[in-house]
């Protein structure tokens, strides 16, 4: 009985150690997932948002992108917007917040991260759920990220058409 208790205790300690290790030293896939979740949080906004908070959010969002990037977003009306710098991202984010007017909740679900063999770049395929007060839109997006100066930054993002 004493041995069994000690074995169970050992298993619990090992499991706690493994869990702590993954929390303190997350793998690249988990880091990427956390960064994408943060991007979704920053892309969300409330109605009547403080302009300073909006500016801060837009600049933070742009900070998740590499200095040179390509973002191709197709609107539901099939109009495509292309952005190629952090400044363009920040400006268009601010313009979208002002034009939209209401509350928007963005959530990335079903994130599939594929790391390159050298673990210095990755592709993340995901589904973005965009919930406004009156509407729900879903859109598949493909993100390409690169590890630059120890940080995973978005180098490319494009919307994917579900049906061809």
């Amino acid at each position: 009985m004493k041995i069994l208790f000690r074995l169970i205790l050992l298993a619990v300690v090992v499991a706690a150690g493994v869990w702590l290790w993954t929390v303190l030293f997350p793998g690249p896939e988990n880091v990427i997932r956390h960064r994408l979740a943060e991007i979704a949080r920053l892309a969300s906004f409330n109605a009547n948002e403080n302009p300073l908070a909006a500016l801060g959010g837009a600049q933070k969002l742009a900070g998740f992108c590499s200095p040179t990037l390509q973002v191709k977003l197709a609107a539901p009306t099939n109009v495509e917007h292309t952005f190629e710098s952090r400044e363009e991202i920040a400006q268009s984010d601010l313009a979208a917040r002002a034009a939209f007017g209401g509350t928007l909740r963005v959530e990335f679900v079903d994130v599939v991260v594929t790391l390159a063999p050298d673990q210095q770049s990755a592709v993340a395929d995901l589904t973005a759920r965009m919930q406004s007060s009156s509407d729900l839109n879903v859109q598949e997006i493909k993100f390409t990220l690169k590890k630059i100066d120890g940080q995973w930054l978005v180098t490319r993002a494009e919307t994917i058409r579900t049906f061809s």
Partner: protein
């Protein structure tokens, strides 16, 4: 009170609960996927906010058929599209003044009789593993209505109700 909660034989009550939980876990985890419909693209048969089930085993013994309402996977299982199959592998699908043409012949769609549609699209020929999916509510503009070609592997199952 104790008898009311655990029954006359608590051991058997626990066994019954365990069996029920296991069966529910197996059925709803691997066979029937519960879904909540969001959006108007499948009106009038499937209204916004209604609940339904997807039978994941529906196509184990046969391939999807024309007219089947199926759920289609995007990048994972949390968000699915619900559409009707109108085109089968190898067929040519086109929209002409709101009518669906399959290999040049008009497709009879009883579920579409009361809905006005003026869609037009050029013919698309499907590959051996491709299907053509569209929602029932074609009174909305085609650019607002997700529809088109997708491979067989993205079909999760057949909508049950």
């Amino acid at each position: 009170m104790r008898t009311l909660l655990f029954g006359r034989n608590p051991k058997w009550t626990l066994i019954r609960i365990a069996v029920l939980v296991t069966v529910c876990g197996l059925v709803f985890g691997f066979v029937l996927l519960p879904i909540r419909i969001t959006g108007i693209s499948m009106l009038p048969a499937y209204p916004n906010g209604s609940l339904n089930l997807v039978n994941r085993l529906a196509y184990l013994r046969h391939e999807p058929q024309r007219g089947d309402v199926v759920s289609i996977q995007l990048t994972g299982p949390h968000v699915l599209f619900m559409k009707r199959i109108i085109g089968l592998p190898g067929e040519t699908v086109a929209f002409v003044d709101g009518r669906v043409l399959i290999n040049g012949k008009i497709l009879k769609e009883p579920y579409e009789e009361n809905l006005a549609c003026d869609w037009n699209s050029p013919p698309v020929t499907l590959a051996g593993d491709e299907y053509y999916f569209v929602g029932d509510n074609r009174s909305m503009p085609p650019e607002d209505h997700e529809h088109g070609v997708k491979k067989r592997i993205y079909i999760v199952g057949k909508v049950l109700l």
